[in-house]
Symmetry: C2
């Protein structure tokens, strides 16, 4: 099957809604290249371009892409093969009212720093510092069940998860809530810390190679996103507080451990407290996101 | 210099107070073996031994050890060389009113599971699961400045940090608040997940080989614990909420980055948002603990 390209110029969304309509329809198993623009829609090209506040439209997500045959209750499998940087510079910004240390002593907003790309070295520059390019898909998700969420918000449908594991070599899984799933993604970073403390990574345009597939009516229903790395399965949850997100992510990890080993929930909870553990995705979006990693030594594929 | 042994039988504390008095006095540079009993003082030896609540005295910390010449404003350096398991089994427990999912559906408390040690394999067993022994010092700290903290509580003096990086091969740094520093440690685990969700790891007695040293009047004053791994410097902070702990840990990381590179705080904040990142230590103690990792590629020793 030949690779198919879907560009943000074909269509992009700023809100995940239950009634999304696809700009492209593909069969399960299709290899796609998805072109994404930077999260700020190209508005920041110089260090004098500063943003007084978070734009109303931010994190454009290329799509939606309808996956033929995906039905509610299925799981959408998105294998991320490669993420290529598609412009010569990224940007890191602060903006008023956003970021972990917003309003703290010495933290200025708005401010912009450009991070030029050195393609040969595989780095971006922040002043004299060279930072390896390790691209992250910031926003990735599907049509939600009943509520709508702007692309600034993460929730059970995915969305603005800002999770460093959304990267090449990993596989993302999403619950299918609506017919066709309606996959969309964008808001990529050339590099990002766990936490995304200042509110951004190095925001940048990319080309993402993925293979999409559908897991029909899995035994274990998925309620929230899940990501598979070479070493671990990680549940992902977003909530008002990190504590509440930890509870959700840990609860989901317990369900996986219990199903695999025949543990009751208390036994699975105890095992979750011994191996892998809780990880921070981001602490800056309207809902915050954590994950619970369970090493593959203790968990095979739930599907 | 010959190695010196300090045992919990010589002395152990259940509270870090400003007026601690040493049970042993050592010179900077001393190699110590510190023997610790399990966090539950041996009360749980069978799966029928369950704890109705967190004991009033818990997490016995062997010590305090007075380090000759350590003065307020100095930094205590604790290089962790090896942690040996010192009993044939650990234990994982739930107890009422404690743990991330306390009171959730299907989570029973109190319950106890034993985790027998296989010394040859280097594992503990949880039922049929074999979990590699990767020991963690749960409680480690010094005399605080003015308040007192039971060994159940983590704070700027250290204490019940429950941080997986407190392990062999790493170096822990603590602010010295009181003359002699008054180092104490215990509450070790044979294995523990980041988060320590059920409220414990595999609690177990150990022998810990450390070398203690004093960094006199460092240029950058340390306000909270710091840990050095082979790859990163990690600030550690505890607070009422994970969000507040993240703010403290990120602020400390920014101070280190700014001092090293001559960045202003906003630039350092932006760099902190690109590399390494926030990590969860524990989400179950009276204050919760996070760390902010900065890879050594961007930070040399602050001392």
């Amino acid at each position: 099957m030949s690779r198919r390209t879907v560009s943000h110029e074909d269509g992009a969304i700023y809100e995940f809604t239950p009634d999304l309509e696809g700009i492209a329809t593909v069969e399960p198993g299709t290899e796609l290249t998805i072109e994404t623009r930077d999260s700020l829609d190209g508005a920041v090209q110089a260090e004098t371009d500063v943003l007084e506040s978070v734009p109303e439209e931010v994190n454009a997500a290329t799509g939606p892409i309808e996956i033929d045959g995906a039905d509610p209750g299925d799981v959408l499998r998105v294998e991320i093969a490669e993420i290529r940087i598609a412009e010569p510079q990224g940007r890191v910004i602060t903006t008023d009212g956003f970021g972990l240390l917003d309003g703290h002593d010495g933290i200025e907003a708005p401010r912009t720093r450009l991070t030029p790309v050195d393609g040969d070295a595989g780095t971006i520059a922040f002043g004299d510092l060279e930072v390896p390019i390790e691209p992250v898909i910031g926003t990735i998700g599907v049509a939600p069940d009943s509520e709508s969420y702007t692309t600034l918000v993460p929730h059970d449908h995915g969305g603005n998860l800002d999770t460093t594991d959304m990267t090449a070599g990993n596989v993302a899984y999403f619950p299918v809530f609506r017919e066709g799933a309606m996959l969309a993604m964008g808001d990529c970073k050339a590099a990002m810390a766990d936490g995304e403390m200042c509110g951004t990574g190095s925001e940048i345009a990319t080309e993402i190679d993925v293979t999409v597939d559908v897991i029909e009516t899995p035994e274990l229903a998925l309620q929230r996103p899940l990501v598979e790395t070479p070493d671990a399965w990680k549940t992902i949850a977003s909530a008002e507080t990190l504590e509440a997100a930890c509870e959700l992510a840990n609860g989901d990890a317990i369900d996986l451990l219990a199903a695999e080993h025949g543990f009751d929930r208390t036994e699975a909870y105890m095992v979750s407290s011994l191996v892998g553990g809780l990880e921070i995705s981001q602490v800056v979006d309207p809902l915050v996101t954590v994950r619970n990693a369970v090493p593959k030594a203790y968990l095979s594929s739930p599907f």
